[in-house]
């Protein structure tokens, strides 16, 4: 089949030149010693929550499945350390909602479960099943179960895999380090997906502020023995936020516009985060499910910023202590980057599967000016990658005008925060839009 690669990325609308602050890009990832306890919420993904498969007092081993659901759109949870289940209790998730969590007290031995063995994969169906068993969710931050994406519905023809290594959030370098430290796995994962889904074209999309990643991946991708037909190419994207957002990325790489309410599969694309792809390769080789995660620990309040590979469920405070602790009083703790991350109420929350960074601001960095009146400068309109009018949406949201909110496509907003970043008046546009979306959803139920 014919396939071509774009020489340059295609044009996208809007965006902002956010600061990069990739302070940790050149620091090798550290491995956190196994913690004494992990807390594993039974919902760490988009979809149905799991039900615990263990009870208090049970002994569990590393990689053992401890929670699962019968729903397809869900992802099982595995023990990240070996030890004893000491409690099953309610914990708060970053978004503020409560869910059950399995608490495991370590026996200090990190004994691996006998269930951990490479999956036997012969058909695409086997592959989807194996990916589901691995517990993999979109590691770029969205937390969408990976097997759902890979389970391409019949009638939808996917021709392009886009490996998302844009990593446009300031500070976060987890994908950057993954690409450098585990580049073999990235390529191996790509081949696995290509062979099973019979894809022609694989684009590894990297922002141009990561020349070392582009160099390393290009070297392996342009390889006559591994890829004689040249199915894999690295595409250098302009470093401009929100380049890594799925719809923006698909447009940059293929010039295809994903219609409102549709998915990349509807325009023949599959988008996967680079760390997810690398994880798949390692999983196919070892059978070890998703039990650890590389997390960027950075921000003005962190003493020794770096990437740390941590067992999922480790308390944030412990990981920060490993990085030398706080060098100044923390004022804001973010799960994720400064553009789309969630501000946490405390540092006792566990690291979740899709976490790629914990960014802690000191007082100065956390300071934001009080909002002033909208001056109608239009910066929000020109910056919006979805071509919306955030200033109008804010007004409609404040007026609780559901009809107008819908007419102006409020549900199309992906909350990337570009409008607020650009706003000279510091209007809380995204906050108003979130409320507006909630109103529309509530209105739709009537």
């Amino acid at each position: 089949m014919e396939f071509t690669f774009p020489a340059n990325p295609f044009k996208t609308h809007g965006g902002a030149d956010v600061p990069h602050r990739k302070n940790t890009a050149q620091i090798e990832s550290a491995v956190l010693p196994p913690p004494a306890q992990v807390v594993l919420p039974i919902q760490q993904h988009v979809g149905a929550p799991c039900t615990p498969l263990v009870k208090i007092g049970d002994t569990v081993l590393v990689g053992q499945k401890i929670a699962d659901s019968s729903a397809f759109v869900s992802a099982p949870i595995h023990a990240s350390i070996s030890g004893r289940v000491s409690a099953i209790k309610k914990v708060m998730l970053p978004g503020g909602q409560y869910t059950d969590a399995v608490v495991i007290d370590s026996d200090g031995e990190m004994k691996v479960s006998p269930d951990v063995k490479p999956p036997v994969v012969e058909t695409p169906e086997d592959f989807v099943k194996a990916v589901r068993e691995s517990g993999l969710v979109g590691l770029g931050g969205a937390g969408f179960p990976a097997h759902v994406k890979l389970n391409v519905p019949k009638g939808k023809n996917i021709d392009t895999l886009i490996v998302n290594a844009a990593e446009c959030e300031p500070y976060i370098t987890a994908d950057h380090r993954e690409a450098l430290e585990d580049s073999w796995a990235v390529l191996s994962g790509i081949y696995a997906i290509r062979d099973l889904l019979k894809l022609d074209r694989i684009l590894i999309a990297v922002e141009d502020n990561k020349p070392d990643v582009i160099e390393v991946l290009s070297k392996i991708a342009y390889n006559e023995t591994n890829d004689p037909e040249n199915h894999v190419r690295v595409l250098k994207l302009k470093a401009r936020y929100p380049q890594g957002a799925e719809k923006v990325l698909v447009k940059s790489c293929t010039d295809r516009s994903i219609p409102i309410g549709k998915l990349p599969a509807d325009v023949g694309c599959l988008v996967m985060n680079i760390t997810s792809v690398a994880f798949l390769a390692n999983y196919m080789k070892t059978g070890m499910p998703l039990v650890t995660k590389r997390v960027t620990i950075d921000g003005s309040a962190i003493k020794n910023p770096q990437n740390v590979i941590v067992p999922i469920g480790t308390k944030i405070a412990e990981v920060i202590a490993f990085c030398g602790g706080y060098q100044s009083e923390p004022k804001k703790i973010l799960m994720g980057g400064p553009m789309m991350g969630l501000a946490l109420a405390n540092d006792e929350l566990p690291i979740l599967k899709q976490n790629n960074g914990i960014i802690v601001f000191d007082e100065q960095e956390a300071h934001l000016n009080e909002p002033t009146a909208c001056i109608r400068c239009g910066h929000c309109v020109f910056g919006c990658p979805m071509n919306l009018i955030p200033a109008q949406l804010e007004k409609f949201s404040n007026a609780r005008n559901v009809e107008k909110l819908e007419e102006f496509d409020v549900m199309d907003c992906m909350e990337c925060g570009t409008c607020v970043y650009n706003c000279p008046a510091g209007r809380p546009l995204v906050q108003a839009i979130r409320l507006g979306k909630a109103m529309v959803k509530a209105g739709g139920k009537k």
């Binding site: 409102i260 923390p330 804001k332 910066h379 925060g417 607020v420 706003c423 510091g426």
Partner: protein, 315 residues
């Protein structure tokens, strides 16, 4: 720790651009034209600019105070209005009349409609129009450039557009003089070089995009060409450059989307030339901007950008 952490909606960083910084950039961009006006029309020009700024800022302070709202003089927008209003009057105006114009601009046009960003017409231009109808002779008496160097009192002359329109006595200034501003006119409108310099600064600083000024000026040039007038003259005479660069681009009263800005700017160009060619007034920039200001909500409604990935539905 929990009670000391800030929990707020994302994003958690800002570009650092604030309303105040934008207004400061506009003030910087207006400075070359202000200096030119002082050179061309003497220290009285400086005095008028100061009077206008002072009365605008004071009006803003007092009106916010009376309305029991927080003071907004810190955003410097009243200073910008003050400079622009002074730029739109002749040097011979009575300072008290100018102060009256400032009150109209800030209190009536801006604050009574809710303050910054809420006014639907340009405050300085509306005040200029009020002054034109309240003090018609003062507002149309033009001092000759460098009049202050001559001993004779009240050395007046006709403005270039006046000469063209009414056949007023006087000789047309040479093109080079028009370019550097040695011609009769309002304080800030004469020196084309200074205005263009300011415009470039605003574009470089990303305070404005070139869309509105270029579409406006381009439309004027095109119509002038078709009508067989002197294009260079139409571009440099009157308040076109001041209007196109500094007044038509006023955020509050111009469309916030690209297509709307084009429609708006072309509309201003057409109205300006209609007034210049057919109207009884010599100049049409102020009226064209105000008229298009009023149409902005409708223009925005008709030119709304289509959301990404949305097909245009024909109704």
């Amino acid at each position: 720790m929990a009670d000391k952490l800030i929990v707020s909606s994302s994003p958690h960083i800002r570009s650092g651009v604030t309303t105040r910084k934008i207004m400061l950039d506009v003030i910087i961009a207006l400075t070359p034209a202000a200096i030119a006006s002082v050179i061309i029309f003497g220290l009285q020009a400086l005095f008028l600019i100061v009077v206008s700024i002072f009365s605008c800022v004071l009006s803003e302070y007092v009106s916010r105070r009376v309305m029991k709202r927080e003071s907004t003089i810190g955003d410097l927008s009243a200073v910008v209005t003050g400079i622009l209003l002074a730029f739109n009057v002749p040097v011979g105006i009575n300072p008290i009349a100018l102060a009256f114009g400032s009150i109209v601009a800030i209190v009536v046009v801006k604050q009574m409609f809710g303050g910054i960003g809420q006014n639907f017409v340009n405050p300085a231009l509306t005040a200029r129009i009020i002054l034109m109808s309240s003090f018609p002779s003062q507002m149309s008496t033009w001092a000759a450039p460098f009049y202050y160097l001559h001993r004779t009192d009240a050395m007046t002359t006709a403005s270039p557009l006046g000469i063209l329109k009414e056949g007023a006595s006087g000789t047309m200034p040479a093109l080079l003089n028009m370019l550097v501003g040695v011609r009769a006119g309002c304080l800030g409108e004469t020196c084309a070089v200074a205005l263009i310099l300011g415009g470039i600064y605003l574009i470089v600083r990303k305070v404005i995009t070139p869309v509105i000024p270029l579409c406006y000026i381009g439309t004027v040039a095109l119509i002038s060409l078709i009508a067989g007038r002197s294009v260079a003259f139409d571009l440099l005479a009157g308040g076109l450059l001041l209007g196109a660069i500094f007044m038509a681009t006023d955020y509050a009263t111009s469309p916030i989307n690209l297509k709307g800005q084009i429609v708006y700017a072309v509309g201003m160009g057409i109205i300006t030339m209609l007034i210049r060619i057919f109207g009884s007034l010599p100049e049409g920039v102020s009226f064209s901007i105000i008229l298009m200001n009023i149409l902005v909500p409708h223009i925005e409604r008709l030119t709304r950008p289509l959301a990404f990935g949305k097909e245009r539905v024909r109704k």
